[in-house]
Symmetry: C2
Subunit: 338 residues, 2 copies
DNA sequence: GTAATTTATGTAACCGGTTGCGTAATTGGT
DNA sequence: ACCAATTACGCAACCGGTTACATAAATTAC
């Protein structure tokens, strides 16, 4: 395999034209079986490999799908990505994945980079920081399929895949109230993204329906990493009214909170009950096991992949913007049971 | 932005040649500042965007790095990927990520796909199943940089990034013995990959050095998912000699084992001490906290990215195969303390 | 046996940048 | 004012497939 062979090399060695070689390799109907066979053999012998650069240029498509996520290393997101990859891979598409790290600037940069690199479609879960969505217009203007999942925004002709976050927030809170909690607080990251805003809305609605709306209290953390736990614990310790329930918008933070509560002498669930979000694997291995909202990440990824593929195949009219809402489920475990 | 503008459009509108436009856009030294300015302005006004397909074809490079990992959705791997992405993104490279799902066939397929799509370099962490490595020759034959990390194989001119798995296995086992364990078993996935083989070797060596080599026993699990826990628990229950120490090659499995042990009435660490591997976040939130080997995944990812970039930039001679060994560290927590 | 079809292949333009080489234009030296 | 050295830019080939259209060859029709 010293130097690469091209369709021109094959054409010359077989005494036919490059066009015929190209058509043979693509199984074009107007080429005789005999010729196709000859070409295929020659291709195999010479170790011919298609030059995608040339093919992409000619066809103006790359068989590549771009993905922008806030971060790769979260249980939920890597599970979603795994689902997307599975679908894309089976369909022969490559996946270009990049992280925004929750920064609007980086999301903009990645959007532009992926556009220029010629992805056939883009899947996005928005950064927390992002307030302006103009950077996506290079995709929407040119009718390049653009889909949002989890952290979504409603743009014309862009499908979204979500769960009913408000209902989930409502159920989590309602459950805590039903378990006897009188002062449930909510721990969330910034409320810029609709996922968090809606969970918060659900939380408030549940309190209101229970006649506790004056007790609404949300603790905003910068992110779901361990150091943020302190803010929550401090609030609880200083609170004049005794906090007896916490609805956390993330399992990973919820488990740190539980751990910290316990080492501060609180009994979970007897003193304080906790419900998380996502149903990360960790929820089942900590003590006490964490009640949470099941969020079907793998399924979301597969659906995102399938949805975008059907747009690319034209089997769905690109103008038909659709919204897919996946089922969530409250999972009651030890951390919230009286 | 109706139709896309090309360098030909700009050339025509400015009355200059496409070559000059191209050179201006690339800040070529032999173009006057005046002309460059004109071109840049025209480019901005018309919303010109480079066509990477054409550029790639001409330059025979894609500014893209391929990655093949066993699976995306593991704490460790997604952390490594996060590190790779950070480096690649900062250097203006795209990352095409695919999963082998531990299958040799899929790894072969992905290798071929990534080759054909023209990645400038390939980073691989091998599938458990892979026994034959010929599929990588399309890369090595053409001197396309190929690097292995974590699950590596020694191929000519391919850098590898690893930790000293044998030493880590030794230390984990030695620690258990020092804590008084008399019958330490090892839980590992298939021993095909060197990471696992070496940890096992370290385990055996530690036993041998302690004069316990006749007690060596490894439990092989198919993967590190919860259902595999049963095999381990069953073994321990049925064992005639009382097992009092477990060295597990994965934190995620170790925590399930601990959980299952506890619900079977064993006290960890008093009855059985456990050491895991990786230092996943979960290790710090379970009860008891899990002793483990710290495996610097993010750093490994960054180094993999940097190493491959320096190969691409030619700052390292491609012929100089190198091996980077990262520092690991035994972290002693509750699960292994007497 | 000749015209009308059908089938198989070739021609050449196109996708949109990149770059070696040649040349015109500008600057400099004396 | 004349020749040399720079500097700035254009020409044209090239990267390697793809495909509309034209054409030659093989079949079928009558």
């Amino acid at each position: 395999m010293s130097k690469k062979t091209t369709i021109y090399d094959i054409a010359e060695s077989l005494g036919i034209s490059p066009a015929t070689v190209s058509r043979s390799l693509n199984d074009h109907p107007s080429i005789s079986e005999k010729t196709k066979k000859k070409v295929l053999e020659a291709a195999k012998e010479t170790g011919y490999r298609i030059n995608k650069f040339a093919s992409n240029l000619s066809l103006q498509k790359s068989n590549t799908i771009g993905v922008i996520v806030p971060r790769l290393n979260s249980d939920f997101m890597s599970t979603v990505l795994s689902g997307i990859e599975t679908i894309a891979n089976n369909a022969g598409y490559n996946l270009v994945i990049s992280q925004s790290l929750e920064l609007e600037e980086k999301e903009k940069f990645n959007t532009k980079t992926l556009f220029e690199s010629g992805v056939d479609a883009l899947l996005v879960s928005l950064a927390n920081e992002t307030m302006n969505y103009d950077h996506f217009s290079i995709f929407t203007d040119r009718k390049i399929p653009l889909l949002f999942f989890d952290r979504v925004i409603d743009l014309p002709n862009c499908p979204t895949i979500i769960i009913d976050n408000e209902a989930a927030g409502y159920q989590a809170t309602e459950h805590l109230i039903q378990q006897g909690c009188k002062h449930v607080i909510h721990v969330s990251s910034g409320l810029n993204r609709s996922v968090y805003k809606l969970r918060y809305a659900g939380y408030r609605k549940a309190l209101k329906d229970a006649g506790q709306n004056f007790r609404e209290r949300v603790i905003q953390v910068d992110n779901f990493s361990p150091p943020e736990t302190k803010k929550v614990i401090d609030y609880i310790k200083k609170s004049e009214i005794p906090i007896d329930g916490i609805f956390v918008s993330s399992d990973s933070l919820a488990v740190y909170i539980i751990k910290e509560l316990r080492s501060n002498g609180y009994n979970v669930p007897n003193d304080i009950k906790v419900v998380g979000f996502n149903n990360d694997p960790v929820a089942q291995v900590i003590t006490p096991e964490l009640s949470t909202i099941e969020y079907p990440g793998y399924k979301m990824g597969k659906l995102a992949g399938q949805s975008i593929l059907s747009h690319l195949n034209g089997s769905i009219n690109i103008e038909t913007a659709d919204q897919i809402i996946l089922k969530h489920r409250l999972i009651i475990r030890e951390s919230s049971q009286k």
